[in-house]
Every structure is written in structure tokens, then in C-alpha cells.
């Protein structure tokens, strides 16, 4: 199932500051769209708008024919658009496997958990064998997901014991668990050592090949360009360039915007 | 009708003045430490009870009042040292701190019950004499002490924060704790003194109001909750807001109590609180809150 994420004329104003101005582009499923720009360009704000954390002053975001702007973060996630954060948001109190299982379960309920009150107030398990089996199956699926990322050994670890890199992995795995159509990754490589970077990049490629549309904000421009099919460049809230990785890297407008920042 | 209304307003000014003092204590602690100190009202009780019991043992009222304020300040110091500081040192934050100040409130109240029991104590007014007429309404002379206490406290707070070096340092520390600590500004010392000051202010309130309302074991709860509402109404980040909130609440209580029923006097404060939290959580004089 493929879908297009259409971002149209997104403008974001806080007080006197214009964080985003008339930003428009499209992200396709099965493609990685890199989003680049110097510091303060508005990349995270853009993600906040798409994922529902903030409402734009103007403009719309739609997935296929479904309008996402104005809906809650959970509703947007339920519709198939999820994200990771610059600082990983962990489910303290759950271990790695449980965190994934939680996401899997939310997805099983058709997107938004909990479902209507009556259905969810009947607890999903009195310890009856059938329910226990269902939960065991859920945990197995969680383990399998971790294995595809190559991090199966983390399954039983408490979230509090994870290193920063491991937290990033968990957040990524959790996002994939809900089988999104669009995956927004906010600087997933920052703070990782080279081995960890490799794991994340491979996961991104696998996700893309499986048909997920990936939007990737990343400061490590070299890595971003190596994995992106197309790139959008923002500067001071405006889109200043769009094209393939090669086109964008050679674009004088882009290079100019980065003066003072390193370019790959 | 107008005469009755005016009388309610005058009564509201008096109770509102105490609410303003309690609210000032809340705001002070909240601004400096980010903590909402549920125990704030008990310092009022401690001040009132100490003054009343010392006076009934023969001490002149003004002396008794002065000592009572010191005792309240000590209670504030102990609150910080025995409860707040150890908790923060171990990383407690957010709701845990709320529970701690709740425990503090309950503990201080219990302490009051242990020392003084449940009987109300009375304190003689500092100025005796007949009531003073104001535009057709009357207030007791003691009310002038209450309002005077307000003027004194808020003036001192203003001078401290706006005109002294120490006060400016505190304001800087509150605005940017991380930067302040790199400058060697002692945040923990500020926190300590904010508790001491808030408690002293509360104690003063108790001392001046006791001749009017008597010192009762549950006045901590009553004044604490009212001071709460006043602080939120005025804006937890605003000392002038505490003053405004206190008077608005006091007058609203007395007016609605007089015109509608006594139930409203008790309940209107909390209705106001709910409305404020819903419609304008930053209070009348506060700046807009950031999204959590």
C-alpha cells in the first residue's frame, strides 16, 4: 500500500518569529527524503507540524487523501505517521521487549489505543491460558522485530539501563512496530558511534525497501546524502532547494546557506 | 444594600490581606524553587498559636508576636532542611515534591495539635478601641495592623527584589538556574531563605489576624487553601499578583457569602481556582505558560 505525504504551504509563526514559511514538498512511500538545513532552519519545527506536536499557522499536511493537520499526535500516529525525537522518549518502567509489545498492541487495536471505554475496561487478560498465549505471541513478535534490527540481545534490558545509542535503537524499533507508512526520524544518528550509525542506516534502508516512506533530518550531511533518494533543503524556514542528493550537494544556493557550517 | 455591600468589601479587604500574605509566601517559594509548598498555611497557624499562647502566659502582645514570627521562620527553615533539601538531593522532582509538602503540611498541623490541642486561643488586639468608620462601613482597629502588615511585607519584597543586589541575583538565578550556578550563585541558599522568608511572612499574617479570628488548629488549612487560590489567581509567578489575588479572593468571598449564602463563601474560592486553571492558568498577572 503506498501513499504520499503532501506538505503544502506550511507556515509557522510564534510571536514575531517565523519558523517556517510556505514550505511545500511531497514524500513518497518506499523513498527516503532527506531534510537538510543549517541550524535554526526549522527542521524540527517541520517535524513537529507533520507529526501533530504543533499546529501550523497556515498550511496542510495530508497522507493520501487524509488530512492530518489539526489532529492529535496519537491520531496521526494511528493514521500511519510516526516519528522519533532528538532526545529519545523512553517508556521508563518498561523493559525493551515490553516497550515494543506496547507499540505492537496499540497498533493491533487499529491505530489508537485505548479503544472505546467499554472494550478496554474489560481487561485484556485474567490470566486465562488463551490470553496468556496471545501475550506470549506478542512478546515473540517484539523479539523478532528486535532481531531484524540486529539488537535481539537488548530484549530483557530495563529501559533505564540502556546507553544512549541503545535508546535510539529502541525508539526506532518501537516506531517500526506500528508499521507506519511514513517514518519521521529526527537526527537519529547524533550521539552514535560508527557501529551504531551503521545499524541505524541499515534499518533505514530496510524500512525503505519494505515500502515505508522515511523523512530524515540529520546533521551528518554525508550520511544523509548517502541514503537519501531525494533531499529538501531548508534555510531560515524556507525551502531553498529540492532534488536528488547529487543535485543538492552541488547547488550553490545550498552551499551558500551552509557557509559557517560544515558541508559533508 | 450598598452599605451592606461596602461592609462586605471591607471585611473582604481584611481577610484578603492575609490571603495576600500567604499567597506571597507561595509565590516566593515557587519562584525561587519551583515548588508549590502545600504547608504554607501552617506557618500562619504557628504564628497565631505561638503568639496567642505566649500572650496568655503573660507576655506583652507585641513581644509575643515578634517571637511567634521567629518561631514560624524556624519552622520554615526546618521544613527546607529536613524535608525539601534531602528530597531534592536524591533527585525528587515534580509530583514527589508535591507529596512532600503535603506531608509537611500534615506534619506541622499534627505538631500544632500535639502542642496546643484543639481549643482555639485568643489574642488581644494590639490597638484596642472602638471601630473605625470608613465611608459608612466599620473596621476594627486591628484591621489596620493587618493591612499595615501587607504594606510592610510587599514593600520590603519590592525593595529587596528590585533595588538590592541580592534580590537581583535571586531574580537572575530564578530566570536561568543553570547559568546562575556557573556564576557561583548559591541556589540552595536562596531556596533556604525563600522558605524562611515565606514562613516568616505567614507567621506575621497569623499574628495580626489572630486577634480578629482567634488562633484555631485548622486555620492553617483554611488560610493555606485560600492563599493558594489567591496565588494561582494572581499568577504563581507574580508577587504583585499575590496581592491582587488575595484581595480579589477576599472580597469575592465576603460579598458572595453575604449576598448569597455562607456556602458560597467557602466554595467560591475553589470555583475561582477551577475557572482560572481552565481559562487562564497563568493567573491574572502571570505570563502565558509554556506547553508542557
Amino acid at each position: 500500500m503506498s501513499a504520499t505525504l503532501a506538505v503544502r504551504d506550511i507556515t509557522m509563526r510564534f510571536g514575531g518569529v517565523v519558523a517556517l514559511e510556505d514550505v511545500s514538498f511531497q514524500a513518497e512511500s518506499g523513498r527516503v527524503l532527506g531534510i537538510m538545513g543549517p541550524n535554526g532552519a526549522g527542521k524540527t519545527t517541520l517535524f513537529n507540524v507533520i507529526s501533530g506536536v504543533q499546529k501550523p499557522t497556515r498550511g496542510t499536511v495530508a497522507l493520501g487523501d487524509r488530512v492530518l493537520t489539526g489532529r492529535s499526535v496519537a491520531a496521526i500516529a494511528g493514521s500511519g505517521v510516526t516519528r522519533t525525537f532528538q532526545t529519545p522518549m523512553m517508556f521508563w518502567g518498561l523493559d525493551v521487549r515490553e516497550s515494543i509489545a506496547c507499540a505492537l498492541a496499540a497498533h493491533e487495536f487499529g491505530g489508537i489505543f485505548p479503544p472505546n471505554p467499554l472494550r478496554s475496561l474489560v481487561p485484556s487478560g485474567f490470566g486465562w491460558p488463551a490470553r496468556r498465549a496471545a501475550d506470549a505471541a506478542l512478546r515473540e513478535r517484539a523479539d523478532a522485530l528486535l532481531a531484524t534490527m540486529g539488537i535481539a540481545e537488548l530484549a530483557a534490558r530495563p529501559t533505564e539501563s540502556l546507553s544512549f545509542g541503545e535508546e535510539r535503537f529502541l525508539e526506532l524499533a518501537r516506531a517500526l512496530a506500528i508499521e507506519p507508512m511514513m517514518l519521521l526520524l529526527d537526527e537519529p544518528l547524533s550521539g552514535l558511534n560508527p557501529d551504531e550509525v551503521e545499524i541505524v542506516l541499515q534499518t533505514i534502508v530496510r524500512a525503505r525497501d519494505a515500502g515505508i516512506g522515511v523523512l530524515l533530518v540529520e546533521h551528518a550531511v554525508g550520511e544523509l546524502l548517502s541514503v537519501a533518494d531525494r533531499v529538501v533543503v531548508l534555510d531560515h524556514g524556507r525551502k531553498i532547494a529540492e532534488g536528488t542528493a547529487r543535485e543538492v550537494a552541488a547547488d550553490p544556493v545550498v552551499i551558500d546557506a551552509y557557509i559557517g557550517d560544515e558541508l559533508g | 444594600m450598598i452599605a451592606a455591600l461596602w461592609q462586605y468589601v471591607l471585611a473582604g479587604l481584611v481577610s484578603g490581606a492575609i490571603y495576600a500574605l500567604v499567597a506571597a509566601g507561595f509565590v516566593l517559594i515557587y519562584q525561587v524553587t519551583g515548588i508549590i509548598n502545600f504547608a504554607q498555611g501552617e506557618y500562619v497557624m504557628i504564628g497565631a498559636m505561638t503568639a496567642a499562647s505566649l500572650a496568655s502566659a503573660g507576655m506583652p502582645p507585641l513581644e509575643a508576636g515578634a517571637i511567634a514570627i521567629v518561631v514560624a521562620a524556624v519552622a520554615g527553615a526546618l521544613s527546607y532542611v529536613l524535608a525539601i533539601r534531602p528530597a531534592r538531593a536524591r533527585g525528587a522532582a515534580g509530583v514527589a515534591l508535591i507529596f512532600i509538602t503535603l506531608g509537611l503540611d500534615v506534619a506541622l498541623r499534627g505538631l500544632g495539635l500535639i502542642v496546643w490541642g484543639t481549643n482555639p486561643l485568643s489574642l488581644n488586639a494590639f490597638w484596642t478601641g472602638s471601630s473605625i468608620a470608613i465611608f459608612g462601613g466599620v473596621i476594627q482597629p486591628q484591621a489596620l495592623w493587618v493591612l499595615g502588615a501587607d504594606v510592610l511585607v510587599f514593600a520590603l519584597l519590592y525593595v529587596f527584589f528590585q533595588r538590592t543586589y541580592a534580590g537581583t541575583a535571586v531574580r537572575a538565578a530564578v530566570a536561568s538556574p543553570a547559568i546562575a550556578s556557573t556564576f557561583g550563585i548559591p541556589l540552595r541558599t536562596f531556596a533556604f531563605w525563600s522558605f524562611v522568608a515565606a514562613a516568616a511572612i505567614g507567621g506575621l499574617g497569623g499574628v495580626v489576624i489572630a486577634p480578629i479570628t482567634s488562633a484555631t488548629y485548622d486555620m492553617g488549612l483554611t488560610f493555606g487553601l485560600a492563599g493558594f487560590v489567591a496565588a494561582v489567581l494572581g499568577g504563581l509567578e507574580s508577587l504583585p499578583g499575590a496581592l491582587v489575588g488575595g484581595f480579589v479572593l477576599g472580597i469575592a468571598e465576603k460579598v458572595s457569602g453575604g449576598l448569597i449564602s455562607t456556602g458560597w463563601e467557602q466554595g467560591i474560592g475553589f470555583l475561582i481556582l477551577v475557572l482560572v486553571l481552565l481559562l487562564r492558568p497563568q493567573g491574572l498577572l502571570g505570563r502565558a505558560v509554556r506547553q508542557a
Binding site: S51, S72, V73, A74, A77, F85, M89, F91, W92, C102, A105, A106, H107, G111, I112, F113, P114, P117, L121, P123, S124, G125, F126, G127, R132, D135, L138, R174, A175, A177 | I36, P86, A87, G91, A92, A93, G94, V95, A96, F99, I100, G103, V106, A107, L108, R109, G110, L113, I114, V115, W116, T118, N119, Y217, L225, Q266, F270, L271, L273, V274
Partner: protein, 317 residues
Amino acid sequence: MPRSAASYAIGGFVLFAVVAIAVWFIPPYYTGLITLVGIYALVTIGLNLFMGYAGQVSLGQAAFVGVGAYTSAVLTVKLQWSPWLGLVAGGIGAAIVAYVLSFVALRLRENLLALATLALGIVINVVFNQWDFVGGSSGFSSIPSFAIGRFTFDLRAHAILSWLLVALGLAFAGALVRSNYGRSMIAISAGELGAASVGIDALRLKRQTFVLSAIYAGLAGGVYASYQTYIDPTSFGFLLSVNFVLMSVIGGLRSLWGAPLGAAIVVALTQVLQSVVPIVIPSARGDFQSFFLGAILIAMLVFLPKGLVSRFGEARA
């Protein structure tokens, strides 16, 4: 998983059985205490779900107990309903009130939520005090006790009933927390944004948990009303709400077994202190035991290893 859902159900019924047998052997005074512990434990289970698992805070839970008690009292005294129906109605009444209030309170976080639940709890209490239909400050007396056939419940029967409800309450809550619902509650308490990003609707979940905690409290109130046969607004004030927080914290916020434990400790301590302290300090009067309980609450929160502290947002290095 450390503990299965079934263990709560089994353990709960073991506890119930112990009580059901013990009441035949102990003096009536202690039977009464056990009933009270059971009633409070029921409230605390609900509170632990809302505060410990979902990570919220309620400083007004006593008001829901009051709503349950008053609903039951009104129906049984004024409309001659059976106390059993009154009990159920108490739970429903509290649920409705909580549902309505949730639209006000649950938009707020932490400090403001604490203040809002505090305020709402007191407003409800003021309503009890002022509304003549529910007896105003005089409250309700002659509330009928439970009965099965011609057997009217005596002291022992009330104790058994309250602990039966505790057992059922533990079983239900245990199943809830050992399920995906429970995982979602924990996810929310860690951070609503993270949970939302996988499709968990925090507001809905908080509302459901709030209503559920009110149901527990309302049922407890219904039992309380028929057990005491007399209620007035002073029984359901702010200080009782603080006591419930105490019971939650002492027993362990994110635990269900902590509920009966905390309730038992607080009730037992109160009894001991009320008997002993006035001998040593004659001036002590009223609810002075709150000094010790408050000190314990503070000590728990300061010294409790990890547990509570890491639950409530320990500063990350």
C-alpha cells in the same frame, strides 16, 4: 513478567479467606478496624492505578468516596432502595462525577492537576455541606445496613464484604496492569508524547483510569455508608484525601499489594498513636497522629530507594 495477572486474583482471595476466618476469632473492635482497612484499601487500589501506574495525581479522592456514600445513602434512605443497589449506584455515581470532572482536570499536568483535584475535592465537599437535599451539615443517619434475606449484616459480615470487594478489586486491577493496558499506562506516565507517537491516546487513557479510580472509591463509599449507618460531610474532607495519598505512598505507588498494606499501616499507626501519645503528651488532641504520618510520608519520599523517586522524573545526568 515478574508477576502474572492470576497471582493478584489468587492472592486477593487468599487474603479474603484469611479475613473471613480471622473475624470469628478476634475481638469485635479489631473486626471493625479490619473493615475500615478494607474500605480504605479499596480506594487505594484505584488511586494506585491512577497515580502509580498512569502517573497522575489526585488530591481529592475522598470526594469520590463521599459521592459514593451519599449516592447510596440518598437512594436507600429516601427511595428505600436495597443497600446492594445503593452500593452499585454509589460506584456509578462516582464514575459519572469523575467523568464530568475529567474534562476540567485532565487537561492539566502535575502541579496544576494536583491543585485542580484538590480544589474539586473541596468543592464537592462544600456541596455536601450546603445542599439540604443530602442533609447539609447534618448528613444522613439511619442508613440501612446490608442484608441477605433476613440476615442483617453484623460487624463480621461487613468485614467479610469489604475484603471480598478488595479481593475482586485486586483481581480486576491485576488483570488490567498485567495487560497491554497496563503497559500503556506506564508508557504514558513516562511521557505522553512518546506514548502518543505510537498511537496511545493519553487523554482517553487518563480519563478511563480516573473514572476507574472513582468507581473503586465510590464502591468503598457505598460500603462505608451502610457500615457506619451515618455519614456527614466531615468524613470526606481534604484530610482523608491526604490519608489516601499517604496509604498509596507508604504501600508503594506503582503496586497493587501496596494498597492494602498502606491502608493497614496507616490505620494501625493511627490507632497506636491515638492510644499512646496522649499518655506521654497530655496536650495532644484531635488528629495529632498526622504529625507522625506526615513525617513518615516525608521520610518515605526522601529515602525510598529508586521506586518512587525514579517514577516521578528523577533528574537525568
